[in-house]
Amino acid sequence: MLARTAERVYWLGRFLERTENTARLILVRHHAILDLPKEVQPGWDLLLQVLGAEQTFASLPGVANEKNIIGFVFGERENPSSIISSLTAARENMRTTREIMPSETWERINSLYLSVARRSQRDLPRGMRHSVLNNIIQSCQQITGMLAGTMNQDAAYQFIRMGRNLERADMSTRIIDAASAGLMGKLEDISPYRNVLWISVLQSLSAYQMYRLNVQSNVSPRDVLEFLFQSKVFPRSLAHCLIEIENSMQLLPDFKPARQVVTKVRRNLGATDCGELVDIALHDFIDEVQLQLIDVHQAIANTWFAPADMADVTAG
């Protein structure tokens, strides 16, 4: 397969996952805010922090209220991390790799795009939010499912899968980081709601139910972090994402150096004592993991998208 095509489908995987996760993120914020009394409600601007979009938001007109922030994260094309922007990028990557994609998946992503593009021209009031966002999540899941069910599980598929898992890992760290920042307020205000807040971290990652099933104890910070960072069974945990990436890599040519990078990250993660990750230590740890994820991306790009020996070709 062409190196350029590989790069495009990898980004397709990333943007599709980003679309889905952003929709989840808004939805969970929405529910969390409905759950909590006003004094301890995390502001909507937390969404901007998670997505690293505070500066872009500030550069556009409009105050930071619920309506504007939701509009910005949902339908603002000037915001590169909005749902509409991620979906546009996902669709563009699929449009330009149509020749290898099952055509029904293209139709699905295209019609999802058309419906979100129409919707993004209007507000997303509270009454509509659940159905619109849920529809996006379901459509993304449907596309992922169609790919799994109808596409050859060859190199192209592995690139999509790596993109998806790397994006998922990255997004998970962002969500944990931002949500835990909300847990560092004045203790006496927060403590009655500590549980609710940790539950909302789990929910942001669709992890609550699986956490209960797997951990079978009450919600404690240590258990939550262990589950989200180290679980080998939960498909959205960091460790699981990294294992998936390693598995995909092994099916590609010349994979060894790239896999080494991933394995190292996974081992570091496994060796971490989550009980010690409190307050600022957690934030620093996440920073470190995010840098390592960037290394993983770089290893993928160097190995398959721009192999160095292709520039100087001669008789082969």
């Binding site: 397969m1 062409l2 190196a3 350029r4 095509t5 590989a6 449009r95 330009t96 149509r98 020749e99 290898i100 994609m101 055509s103 293209w106 139709e107 295209n110 019609s111 058309l114 190199a155 590609l252 040519p253 010349d254 398959w304 192999p307 020996d309 292709m310 070709v313 001669t314 008789a315 082969g316």
Partner: protein, 501 residues
């Protein structure tokens, strides 16, 4: 106490008469209509379509049209228009009422198309090699030598099967007396075949009932025929030669089609930068496994941009060294560079003699009578009759830079008279044909609109002609311009076997 009398319901009583399609008000005047013959009657091949439509309400047809439009949007069938400095991706316009041709007539046209392409390929090969036809003065040498499409670099090249134009899209039109003419040959990079295939897919979605009642030739075979033809061009005798489709990129107006064909053939879709020519003069593509040799390139990029080493040096779309690899016979190129020398609109006027010369046959499909402005007698005639003429530049496509006499203003004609006098070699003219029509859904009514037909003809080791082709229709009332870039639409085209009904 008086009890109100209750009327029993009348289940079988008809409500208001429904407004169904009324053919009596359909009038294509003195144009030949493809669907409705004289006296408002259906033609033999269109009987069941007309019958079906008679039973439909306009409202229902409009709802089917909307379903088709939605399907087109969701399938992402689009073409890109360059306008006001921007690229706009537009949904492909398709009218749901099909255009129908009887199989018996089609068989003749098919033979004519193969005859024509065979002769044209012999002509191109001759022109770049022995030049016998020029020596015999059947085609004047100066016409070839002054043509910008005659590429000196190609002289002496001998592509496989001596075929240069492997994929040809000839435009056919029907005049008011029912005669079908070849309007032009597109021997370089004709486009539109994916729309032909998608139009059929959409008709089957929105009007499945009609497929039961007719025996319609399928069209879905094209990609595999194309694949086989391309395989026959491979220099290496492999069971699975590496075939790629080469696109100028995602901003090209026909990108949709490039991706579509690559997908249907299971071929890689490459851009110029994905290919590299080695010092061994072979072509390689950059894959995740390193370099892989390419055997055949179906290039959808014009000669000019193909190879900056030979043609436009500033072109970033092509691949340096590609031409060299082709000349050495290390890669098959479809179509071959230089094939455009034979679809020049001036050379067009010689095609009947070209067919006679190489095949010793009369053309099965006639040419439209044409006047070459370089010839002073012809020029005189053209200038005197501009309002009845269609004037075309000799080597432009896409309907740009044409004068349509009957719909032109005095000022347009003055401009063209000037252009012709300044550069007569660049222009040819044809009498404005009375293009045939077919019923088309226009807003809330069904009206006649002018159309043409572009069948696709393949020639490699063997020949193949698509069953029908792409029917393009001028959606504006009275307009003769069918190009999608100029407000044209399309129709699904059915070759119907009347004897099977």
């Amino acid at each position: 106490m008086v009890q109100a009398k209750i009327k029993s319901p009348q289940p079988y009583a008809r409500a208001r008469p429904r407004s169904t399609v009324d053919w009596s008000s359909y009038n294509s005047r003195d144009f030949y209509d493809e669907i409705i013959g004289t006296g408002g009657r259906a033609r033999p091949a269109t009987r069941s379509l007309v019958e079906f439509m008679r039973k439909q309400t306009i409202k229902h047809l409009i709802s089917r049209q909307q379903a088709a439009d939605l399907a087109i949007q969701e399938m992402g069938v689009s073409f890109t228009v360059y306008s006001e400095g921007q690229n706009i991706d537009r949904a492909w316009p398709m009218d749901i009422i099909p255009r129908i041709i009887a199989l018996q007539e089609w068989r003749v046209l098919e033979k004519g198309l193969i005859q024509r392409l065979t002769a044209l390929n012999m002509f191109i090969h001759d022109v770049y090699n022995k030049q016998q036809i020029l020596k015999d003065k059947v085609v004047p040498r100066e016409i070839i030598e002054s043509s910008p499409d005659f590429l000196k670099e190609c002289v002496g090249a001998k592509p496989r099967h001596s075929v240069w134009s492997h994929i040809c899209g000839s435009d056919l039109v029907r005049d008011s007396d029912g005669t079908v003419y070849v309007l032009e040959d597109n021997l370089r990079v004709p486009s539109g075949v994916s729309y032909m295939l998608e139009n059929r897919a959409i008709s089957k979605r929105v009007l499945p009932q009609l497929f039961d009642r007719n025996s319609i030739e399928p069209v879905a075979d094209y990609p595999s025929q194309l694949f086989d033809m391309l395989s026959s061009l491979s220099p290496r005798q492999l069971k699975h030669p590496e075939i790629v489709v080469m696109t100028p990129g995602v901003f090209n107006s026909a990108y949709f089609e490039h991706a579509y064909l690559a997908q249907r053939m299971g071929a890689e879709l490459v851009e110029g930068a994905d290919l590299v020519v080695g010092s061994d003069d072979k072509v390689y593509m950059k894959t995740i496994r390193g370099l892989a040799q390419v055997d055949v390139i179906y290039r959808r990029i014009n000669d000019d941009y193909l190879d900056p080493e030979v043609f436009r040096p500033e072109s970033a779309l092509g691949t340096p060294g590609l031409f060299r690899a082709w000349r050495k016979g290390n890669v098959g190129l479809a179509n071959a560079p230089g094939a455009g020398v034979a679809d020049d609109k001036v050379v067009y006027t010689f095609v009947p003699s070209i067919i006679k010369y190489y095949l010793d046959q009369d053309p099965i499909i006639p040419n439209v009578p044409s006047y070459l402005c370089v010839n002073s007698k012809h020029r005189q005639h053209v200038l005197e009759n501009l309002e009845n003429m269609v004037v075309k530049p000799a080597n432009e496509s896409g309907g740009y830079g044409m004068l349509i006499g009957p719909s032109s203003t005095k000022k347009d004609r003055a401009v063209f008279a000037d252009l012709i006098k300044k550069n007569p070699r660049n222009y040819m003219a044809q009498p404005a044909l009375r293009l045939s029509t077919a019923p088309t859904l226009c807003g809330n009514s069904i009206e006649p609109r002018h159309l043409d037909l572009r069948p696709f003809v393949l020639q490699g080791k063997n020949h193949y002609v698509t069953a029908g082709g792409l029917t393009r229709v001028a959606l504006r009332k009275g307009s003769l311009v069918v190009n999608s870039s100029q407000g044209g639409g399309s129709k699904d085209t059915w070759i119907v076997d009347t004897e099977a009904n």
